[in-house]
């Protein structure tokens, strides 16, 4: 199965606060009907050490057609907050996965009381 898969957050929203709704659209255009299209709200870490991930919520788009646009709404959890330090960053994202194949689309956003990433340590960067 070949084609494209995209996610768009409403209003280009990338700075989010706990408890808010995260809404957006998933679009796909494939040459065949996908078996499954799934959307995941999750966080993951990046940095010097082992990686960690946490799934907050996922939803499956039932009976997907080869070409479609679907909307989604997630109630954002209270945490963990997006943060970055010298050794580790925690990043929130929404990811769409279509099967079969390796079709993945991902949009990152920040989650914190201010909507901005919490910076640990030296802020000079």
């Amino acid at each position: 199965m070949t084609g494209t898969l995209d996610i768009e957050l409403d209003g280009g929203q990338t700075e989010c606060r706990p408890g808010e709704d995260l809404t957006g659209t998933v679009r796909w255009l494939f040459d065949d009907r996908p078996d499954k299209v799934e959307l995941r709200l999750f966080w993951y870490t990046r940095g010097k050490g082992d990686e960690d991930t946490g799934l907050a919520e996922n939803l499956t788009f039932e009976s997907p057609a080869p070409s479609e646009t679907r909307t989604f709404r997630f109630a954002l959890p209270n945490g963990p907050y997006s943060f970055s330090g010298r050794l580790i960053s925690l990043i929130w994202a929404v990811e769409a996965v279509a099967e079969p194949g390796d079709h993945v689309a991902r949009v990152e956003f920040t989650l914190s009381p201010t909507g901005r990433e919490v910076m640990l340590g030296n802020r000079s960067a």
């Binding site: 990046r46 940095g47 010097k48 050490g49 082992d50 990686e51 970055s84 330090g85 010298r86 050794l87 580790i88 960053s89 990043i91 910076m119 340590g121 030296n122 802020r123 000079s124 960067a125």
Partner: protein, 204 residues
């Protein structure tokens, strides 16, 4: 300070690096392994790319339609007997055993016997030769470190931070006795602390 997410030497970047054989091509290595009935050892010192080679080998074997199982051992991680049993009961063609020299003689004999009895393949990594015929000896050189650094920085495109010069990388390579993994971890610190960190000299 450079945030961890923007550090070109962060772990998720490092793990995308494939093993680059210095003295043979991948088709040649695979032919040699097939000639050994998929039983051989990857031998080399710490940080010379043994685990990276095993990861890359897993992809190559899968592309040949071979089913792969994995088992990992280290100084800190010794799989319990139940985990070894569970792996051996899987359906696979080749077992990739990382850190074979951390297994005791009994566990090693048990695994080897179970694999050979069913005519399966067994590829191990070890610091020293001896447990299986050597398939590949992993070696590094400063030029390899330079190529890997270049590749990691190129991935950032025009936003890539400036690369430590070649003589600095060669110094780092020597400082860590050819251990590429430790050299890359040190480069993470250098990038995290900014260019001044390197100007101040490598940390012992």
């Amino acid at each position: 300070m450079r945030p961890a997410r923007d550090n070109p030497f962060r772990v998720d970047r490092i793990t995308t690096l494939c093993y680059q054989p210095l003295e043979a091509t991948w088709p040649q290595l695979l032919d040699r392994l097939e000639g050994m009935h998929f039983c051989g050892a990857v031998v080399g010192p710490c940080g010379s790319g043994k685990t990276t080679l095993l990861d890359t080998l897993a992809d190559h074997l899968a592309r040949r339609g071979l089913r792969v199982a994995r088992l990992f051992c280290s100084v800190d991680v010794r799989p319990p007997r139940s985990e070894v049993t569970a792996v051996l009961e899987q359906t696979f063609d080749v077992l990739l055993l990382d850190g074979a020299d951390h297994l005791g003689p009994l566990a090693w004999r048990r695994i080897r016997r179970a694999i050979l009895r069913r005519d399966r393949g067994l590829v191990i990594t070890a610091h020293r030769p001896g447990r299986l015929p050597t398939w590949v000896t992993c070696r590094t050189d400063a030029a390899l470190l330079c190529r890997l650094v270049e590749r990691l920085l190129i991935a950032d495109g025009p936003n890539a931070p400036s690369c430590p010069d070649r003589s600095a990388l060669e110094g780092l390579y020597r400082q860590y006795n050819g251990n590429i993994r430790e050299a890359l971890r040190r480069l993470y610190d250098i990038m995290a602390d900014g260019p001044g960190a390197y100007a101040a000299g490598p940390r012992p």
